[in-house]
Amino acid sequence: MKVGLFATCINSIYFTRTVTATRTVLEKLGVEIIETEQVCCGQMHINSGYPDLAKPLVDRVEKNFKDCDFIVAPSASCIGSLREHEDRPELVAKCFDLSEFLVDILKVTDVGATFNHRVTLHTTCHSLRVAKLGDKPQQLLRAVRGLELIELPESDSCCGFGGTFSVKNSDVSGAMLADKMRNISSTKAEYVVSADNSCLMHIGGGLQREKSSIEVLHLAEILANTNG
């Protein structure tokens, strides 16, 4: 099994902790990761209406992982975007979000993690409706020792990030964020977790602005944690 780790651009640049955690989880389960360069899926350009600028980026993803059987990313959003390229069926067939790869391919829900905290899950739009992860993140979280999973009210409603939407329609984005944060606070969780750092950057930035004690954490980082 040849597995390529697709860190995604945002994680390569900003959230390298998530990349390290993804690598840790996969290697612990005996997965051998083929070393490749880091690339971008082109989603920002596609969704912002610049498909011509995205094309060379997608070409590079395809080339970069051409020797891999699986492309695994700690991002449902980027995986979902790659899967929209119907004209590249071989690429589409190889793309897996981390939780899909663990549950569907490795058939593992208990990755041997421990996390002694109250956690709530923001089921991101792209996890649910684009990558269609279903309840795989929940299955993985429920198997973590010490973790108390608290249901987030209206968890399937959008947090308001939406890439460039967050700046082009910043007032609407802010209103959606306020509602999302109110729901998160109501859970009394210590951490809000999701399968995408893009939403978490927006939610985390909002919580920080409110001086909330609730922190954001990527799913991979909980799965990689073994010391409580």
Binding site: C9, Y14, Y50, C125, F165, D171, N197, H202, Q208
Partner: protein, 462 residues
């Protein structure tokens, strides 16, 4: 009389900002959309083959659109041979002229109306009003909006932005039949409107409607409604004129089997709608029946293979009720007869991109609309397509340059440099000095208006 759409291109973000500040509006919208959304989810879950029905609805519509000219000429032949009159209109102006001409020829000075988006699209009420013909809305919510001299804010529940206190006050001020001390009880309000509307129905000589479906093989029009006002308009007057977009055509009578299951569950969250009226040519009821088949941008939309799917819309409004952007901003922010996610893809295509530069960007692409659409219109995909069209024509030089620079920076070498750069500058980026500085930086200030750069997420060197 309700105001027509001016065609002035006000940016969505500007209108949305005003709407967001209206707390009453946000409360009304959240309550109403949540109620309809939950009702819909419940009745859709009852249907075992819902996904197959959606696919069938999509396929029938797309097949019908790909053979539109055949189906339309067949409809014309059948409707005419059954005694009806078929007119063709290339645009709003032609359609309005035909309605006014029919009214003039019959010495009619007022018409009753069945709720119709298509007649709102062509600003028919204003056109007739300017020529001394009063158009009276008879759907309860349309009546409310017309009395308030406003636009509908939702295609199914046009007065969703108003609550019952506001409606009571409006009735007391504008309706002669409103008795003194009228309460805000929904029944009292409805009874007041009922008495008022009865007088309209009994005195009307001409009615104007739209249609939900036009059946090609039999030349039949269909109107689906809840209040019975439609049935009154379609049967009582002598003259009936229906303004129908050419995309409303369905090839066969049996196609209705699919759509009459999809539509009520998706729109009002009912298993079946209360009133479904059909008519073919002339017969019982109105002795003169006209249909105006309207293009108004539809043929041009059909020519765009990436955008044409929008024409499959059956105007159920399910997408609006699940849209997180619509829920917070309401229909008026879209400044179009077609608001919400479907409005964001129909308005620029039908009425021209110049009128709707900002609409394709008024979405987070969360996909909730696509999930509920009864005819499986991939709304996010079309939004993205329209964004690209808009950018090609009108994106600012600075945005184009920024996107070009980003595409260059996101190559493997660039990612390495950016990662190093971020690591080196992270203490600065999360400092209070940067927060202050960012308030005067063009893009950063939009981000920093509601959020910080998340400090806790910054990585120490792995």
């Amino acid at each position: 009389m309700a105001k027509g759409y001016s065609g002035v291109s006000l940016p969505f973000p500007t209108l949305a900002k005003t709407a967001l500040e209206d707390t009453q509006l946000r409360t009304n919208l959240a309550r109403a959309t949540t109620t309809i959304r939950n009702k819909r989810a419940k009745v859709v879950a009852e249907v075992g083959d819902w996904e197959a029905l959606r696919q069938a609805g999509h396929d029938i519509k797309m097949e019908s659109l790909s053979n539109l000219s055949t189906h339309l000429t067949q409809f014309e032949k059948e409707f005419t041979s059954a005694g009806g009159h078929v007119h063709w209109a290339r645009n709003s102006q032609e359609a309005c002229e035909i309605v006014a001409r029919i009214a003039k020829e019959n010495q009619v000075t007022s018409v009753v109306k069945v709720k119709s988006l298509t007649t709102d699209e062509i600003n028919l009420n204003e056109y007739l009003g300017a020529r001394g013909i009063e158009a009276k809305e008879t759907d309860l919510a349309e009546l409310i909006v017309q009395l308030a001299d406003e636009h509908p804010s939702h295609i199914l529940v046009p007065a969703i932005h108003k609550n019952r206190d506001q409606i009571r006050d409006l009735f007391v001020e504008k309706i002669a039949e409103a008795r003194e001390g009228l309460s805000n009880n929904p029944r009292d309000l409805a009874m007041t409107a009922r008495v008022h509307l009865r007088n309209r129905f009994l005195s009307a000589r001409m009615a104007v409607s739209g249609a939900n479906f036009a059946i090609a093989e039999s030349g039949t029009l269909c109107v689906v409604e809840s209040e019975g006002n439609g049935r009154m308009c379609l049967t009582l007057p002598e003259i009936l004129v229906s303004v129908v977009g050419i995309e409303k055509i369905l090839p066969k009578w049996t196609d209705l089997e699919v759509f009459l299951q999809l539509l009520p569950r998706s729109s009002t969250g009912e298993r079946m709608n209360p009133y479904t009226s059909f008519w073919t040519g002339a017969g019982d009821g109105p002795s003169q029946r006209h249909v105006i088949l309207l293009d108004n941008g539809r043929i041009q939309t059909l020519a765009d293979e990436n955008g044409r799917e929008a024409l499959a819309c059956i105007r159920c409004s399910a997408c609006m009720n699940v849209c997180p952007v619509y829920e917070r901003t309401g229909g008026h922010s879209y400044n179009s007869v077609y608001p919400g996610p479907i409005g964001a893809i129909i308005t620029p295509q039908l009425l021209g991109p110049g009128l709707a530069k900002t609409l394709p960007f008024a979405s987070t692409l969360c996909g909730a609309c696509y999930d509920v659409c009864p005819v499986k219109i991939n709304i996010p995909k079309i939004l993205v397509h329209l964004r690209a069209n808009e950018n090609r024509a009108n994106a600012s030089i600075s945005e184009k340059l920024a996107m070009r620079a980003a595409a260059y920076a996101l190559r493997p070498d660039g990612l390495k440099i950016l990662a190093r750069l971020i690591r080196a500058t992270s203490p600065l980026l999360t400092s209070s000095a940067f927060t202050k500085l960012s308030k005067s930086l063009p893009v950063a200030k939009k981000w920093m208006a509601f959020r910080d750069i998340p400090r806790t997420r910054l990585n120490k060197k792995p």
